[in-house]
Symmetry: C2
Subunit: 222 residues, 2 copies
């Protein structure tokens, strides 16, 4: 199967980097094709604007969704955006590897979504949620947190992680038709011992070996 891993962390020696490299190795060893988008490594610019496009629908007023719909019709996406869109279209499974910053995606990954998930090409009237463009594809958030697991449960310090991730699971992934798999979470890697970190990587490897047999995660609508 085809797997795209989108990776967003500034430190090559971080736990996120180790999880990213582990996933590439485990999936390749299991016979899958892997493509990657290392957003910090690519120096990806996450500011969505006219330079998403080579085409122009309306030079006097920039309405992003109309420019996206036009670019879809005339092949008018900037080459580096088109390349990212082709990777998403190519994959059977998309994994995002990132640290949870402010209950959400790092800005570089959020802006990748803003620019790549274009109206027309990745969603359009009548092709959203259950009839989404990417139906049949799976998606999985692999993330690290700052605090321990007990901070991310209902009534805990920060609250239920499923609720925190719902805008991403529901508003981006299910919105465009992806079937969501359970998130892979390493809680507070900075506080783990080397042995505990190695164990987390082993758990991730084992999970990825059978990833295409997993049942979907229940996100739940708002």
């Amino acid at each position: 199967m085809n797997v795209l891993i989108v990776y967003a962390h500034p430190e090559p020696k971080s736990m996120n980097a180790a999880l990213f490299q582990t996933a590439i190795q485990a999936l390749t060893a299991a016979g899958h094709q892997v493509k990657t988008s290392n957003l910090y490594g690519m120096q990806f610019n996450p500011v969505s604007d006219r330079y998403n496009f080579t085409s122009v629908h309306n030079a006097a007023f920039f309405k992003q969704q109309l420019e996206e719909t036009h670019a879809t019709a005339v092949n008018g996406f900037a080459p580096h955006i088109d390349t990212e869109q082709e990777k998403v279209e190519w994959c059977d499974l998309m994994i995002w590897q990132f640290p949870l910053w402010w209950f959400s995606l790092p800005g570089i990954l959020k802006g990748w979504v803003d620019r790549v998930f274009a109206m027309g090409r990745t969603y359009r009237h009548g092709h959203i949620y259950e009839t989404g463009v990417f139906r049949g594809k799976k998606a999985l958030l692999s993330l690290t947190t700052g605090g321990p697991e007990s901070n991310y449960v209902k009534g805990g310090f920060n609250g239920d992680l499923s609720g925190i991730l719902r805008p991403i699971h529901r508003g981006i992934l299910e919105f465009t038709g992806f079937t969501v798999l359970a998130p892979q979470v390493v809680y507070g890697p900075a506080r783990l011992s080397d042995e505990e970190r190695a164990n987390e990587l082993a758990v991730w490897t084992t999970r990825l070996q059978g990833i295409f047999e997993e049942a979907p995660f229940t996100v739940g609508a708002y």
Copy 2:
């Protein structure tokens, strides 16, 4: 009172731009001091990395929170980040004016949070939520949506807007001690008539005239 407006939209003739300009005028006319951060206008770079800092805590391993804590101690924030932090520290009310993209903030605004809301300076152990660094300050999200209001209610096409905004309200604003005011929402401005858009601006002006007398919005923990 002192008001900071952070504005994130690429089109100067957009409804977001009109709401931004309207707020500046209404608040100034009411006798308040207003500072702004026009993120697209400033060409703000939303990628959080070492260049947030002039100081270096650990040159061999970039752990952002430790660099932030160190920079707080030694005045080591990059000048343009320090300027943004000073604006937040200066204000009594912070307004964010943005379009809701993918159930969340545009990447340029999310990255502004990633870079500006630094550990040590804007939150630290024992100074989070009810004891947050910014307690006594108020914050308000002013946003536009793509779809009509009926899409953003419980059981609607996208679901309850309060739930969609909770990671921002709870995980950024209340986390750092802000008292949250009710969001100001213009639903589907692209589908409104000129008269309806003018009415939305008038409603916003009227609200801002009494903004410091408003009771808090109930966000609710997860």
